[in-house]
């Protein structure tokens, strides 16, 4: 279980997060919502270890991981699907997937078949360069790449951004399938309300670097949340 407790985060002198707290449980999808620039991505970066925090704590299965570097967190089973996908453009699809071998033991270094079942399109593209794929394909690759590390916490940052509806559906199916496996906690940052609503077990809404609403998916009140999503 992931527990984010009262974290602050600064970019230089600018404060991006103020006492943000968040919880994500195994087998559940936690949705983080909010407008552009309210600190969602910063929160994910803090969780993945891509940016240091200046106050508060991040606990993973009870262990304080606040000061661990990103690669050590990957070893703890935390995988991120970042905003903009961040595919390695000059590596082939296969190589992109294989970068996920780094944090796992030697005997697990293979690409699980389930990945190709979730994203069959990747199977035909193994030798293509990552940079040559379409946006939707890159998004699928980014999720697949994260899955290669056998994560226990999967963090997705706006996986639907700029992607055609049919693939959004595929991605949604994949996320709910992963949740149903019950082996991982999923944190999903989303602005696309319907997509989030369909998937969320828990939710949190951010504004101006703070969490302003949170609760379980059942309580998710569209009007209240919409207030924070529309500009």
């Amino acid at each position: 279980m992931l527990q984010v407790e009262n974290i602050d985060l600064h970019y230089g002198a600018a404060q991006a997060l103020k006492k943000v707290s968040l919880k994500a449980e195994t087998g559940k999808v936690t949705c983080l919502m909010g407008r552009n620039g309210v600190g969602k991505t910063s929160t994910l970066r803090a969780v993945a270890g891509q940016h240091g925090i200046s106050a508060g704590k991040i606990l993973w299965d009870g262990e304080d991981i606040s000061s661990l570097p990103a690669h050590a967190r990957a070893r703890k089973g935390i995988a991120i699907v970042p905003q903009g996908r961040e595919i390695f453009p000059l590596l082939s699809v296969k190589e992109n997937l294989e970068t996920g071998y780094a944090p796992i033991p030697r005997k697990e270094r293979f690409i699980p078949d389930t990945i190709f079942e979730l994203f069959p399109v990747l199977k035909d593209m193994l030798s293509r360069r990552g940079g040559d794929l379409s946006g939707g394909q890159q998004q699928q690759l980014a999720i697949a790449r994260a899955l290669v590390t056998r994560p226990k916490l999967l963090v997705l940052d706006e996986p639907t951004e700029g992607i055609q509806p049919s693939i959004i559906k595929d991605i949604g199916r994949a996320i709910s399938w992963l949740r149903d496996q019950g082996t991982m906690a999923i944190v999903l940052v989303e602005q696309y309300f319907e997509f989030a609503r369909d998937l969320a077990d828990d939710y949190a809404v951010m504004d101006r670097g703070e969490v302003v609403l949170s609760g379980t998916g059942a309580d998710l009140s569209e009007t209240e949340v919409r207030r924070y999503l529309t500009v």
Binding site: P89, E98, T99
Partner: protein
């Protein structure tokens, strides 16, 4: 070492001579006074004496002459007896110059060297040539034929005729025929014989033949002159073609030196974005490792000398690599995100390393020897290819291929490429980016180190070694396109060949200036080098 070689040659020569059917073999004792006379007086006297020995036509005098030429003929001060000597510790082992039996030992100061200079060596060589045309060993006969060719002495035609008749080896016989042709043209034989000789030289087709034919052309008339002229035209045409080939070869050779120097930089600079001004010093460290290895081998295992470079390679890789890792861990890793400051810090490191080497090994050049397989040259047509250059080209290609293999086929290479393209994402994939940085820097430095082993074979091993290559290396990497190893390969070879084609016309200095101006202009045309990488990963 080469002393040993000449000794072996000497003995095989002598043995073969003794075994050969006596031509004009006489009692050694009648020759001894003549040999003892060699020790008298000036070079001119010695020269006369050599003439007298050769005039006996007795092959038994050959070993003494050979030893004289090698500087191994000494005279005993006490009684004026002449011996061939062999250094045995502090004393000399004496060998009788005629019977070739050992004749005891003598202290150094009891003996005087019989002085020899280039002119005497030349005289001896041509003299030995005519004496050894019939030797049983074909290599000796070949050398003899070459010596006679150079001497162009009409008096040797008779001996050559006999030797040609008896010769079984085609190569040697061809050489003898050429030697005969050269001698014929120098004699007063009739025109038919000379025409025949001109055509022999025409088929020989190299510069030696050309110079002989030009001499004929300018000193003769009529048919002979015409024949010579037509052969000259032919040879000049073929030489021009060979010259172009030779220039390409020189260019590739220079290119592979540039490649070796630059390829490590292509990794640390091109892949990691670190401006490593201490790169040249990594090359220098590799060269000094070679020196240390050779010193160690010389003092404790002389037999391994031929393999010294193979022993030095892994050690140089490790030493330079470790220094590189130390630099990365100690300094550079604090500077990521401030690339220009790596320039500053590594410049400081390069000063420190230079001074360190100067303090440890002294400021002067150190000797790194070429093993036999790196020495000498062979010819393909009219093109001379030196072994060291050839092996360096081969080596550069192997290093390049090896590096490509590491980067393309190993997990380490994959992680390195991932880190290069997107460091933050790579870290989030669980790749230990600090380790990758250290290892990549170590790899680049280690490769610079093995480049140093190769460069020690053709250049100075001095504290300044690295400085000489650093600018060229940066030019190659930038010309080829930062971050692209193929670009580095093509860039190095292009610059090498362009340089070598300019050099004969513009001279070495202007040639180099033109190449630099060419690079400046080229970058205007393609601001990111020959093989510009596309995409955001490179621009970041």
């Amino acid at each position: 070492m080469s002393l040993m070689r000449s000794f072996l040659l000497l003995f095989s020569l002598a043995a073969s001579l003794l075994a050969a059917p006596a031509l004009a073999q006489s009692d050694p004792e009648t020759l001894r006074p003549l040999i003892n006379e060699l020790a008298n007086g000036k070079y001119s006297e010695t020269e006369k004496q050599i003439g007298a020995l050769v005039a006996t036509g007795d092959p038994q005098v050959a070993p003494a002459l050979e030893a004289l030429s090698d500087g191994d003929l000494y005279v005993r001060k006490a009684d004026g007896e002449v011996f061939i000597i062999k250094k045995a510790g502090k004393a000399y082992a004496l060998i009788d110059p005629l019977t070739l039996e050992t004749a005891g030992e003598a202290a150094k100061r009891e003996m005087d060297k019989i002085k020899v200079n280039n002119k005497l060596r030349r005289v001896i060589r041509s003299a030995l040539g005519s004496l050894t045309l019939m030797a049983p060993d074909p290599t000796v006969r070949m050398a003899a034929a070459e010596a006679v060719f150079k001497a162009k002495d009409p008096d040797s035609i008779e001996a050559l005729d006999a030797a040609i008749a008896a010769e079984a080896d085609d190569g040697v016989r061809k050489k003898m025929e050429e030697a005969r042709a050269a001698a014929v043209l120098n004699s007063d034989m009739d025109e038919a014989a000379k025409l025949q000789a001109v055509s022999t030289l025409g088929t020989m087709g190299n510069r030696d033949a050309l110079s002989l034919l030009i001499a004929v052309q300018s000193s003769s008339e009529g048919a002979l002159r015409d024949a010579a002229t037509s052969e000259i035209t032919k040879i000049e045409k073929s030489i021009a073609a060979w010259d172009a080939a030779q220039n390409i070869w020189y260019g590739l050779s220079l290119g592979s030196v540039l490649l070796l120097a630059a390829i490590g930089l292509a990794i640390t600079f091109g892949v990691m974005g670190v401006i490593n001004m201490a790169h040249g010093e990594m090359v220098m460290i590799g060269a000094y490792v070679t020196f240390v290895v050779q010193e160690f081998i010389r003092s404790s295992a002389p037999g391994l000398f031929e393999y010294s470079l193979f022993i030095a390679l892994p050690l140089a890789f490790l030493t330079s690599g470790l220094v590189g890792v130390a630099i990365e861990r100690g300094v550079i890793r604090w500077l990521y995100g401030r690339p220009l400051e790596t320039l500053l810090a590594t410049w400081g490191i390069s000063l420190v390393l230079q001074q360190a080497v100067r303090s440890i090994f002294g400021p002067t050049n150190r000797e790194v020897g070429n093993p036999d397989w790196m020495s000498g040259a062979f010819e393909i047509g009219q093109m001379t290819i030196t072994y060291n250059r050839m092996w360096i080209i081969v080596f550069a290609m192997l290093v390049f291929a090896g590096l490509m293999l590491v980067l393309k086929k190993t997990p380490f290479g994959l992680y390195t490429r991932a880190v290069t393209q997107n460091r933050r994402m790579a870290a989030s994939m669980g790749i230990r980016t600090p380790w990758i940085d250290a290892f990549t820097f170590g790899l680049g430095s280690g490769i610079a180190g093995i480049a140093g082993v190769a460069l020690s074979q053709i250049d100075n091993v001095s504290p300044n070694l690295g400085q000489g290559y650093i600018i060229d290396s940066f030019m190659v990497v930038v010309f080829g396109g930062v971050g692209n190893l193929w670009g580095t390969l093509v860039g190095a070879m292009t610059l090498g060949v362009v340089n070598k084609f300019l050099e004969p016309y513009a001279g070495a200095v202007l040639g180099k200036i033109f190449v630099l101006v060419f690079i400046i202009l080229f970058i205007q045309k393609r601001p990111r080098g020959l093989f510009a990488l596309k995409g955001r990963a490179v621009e970041a």
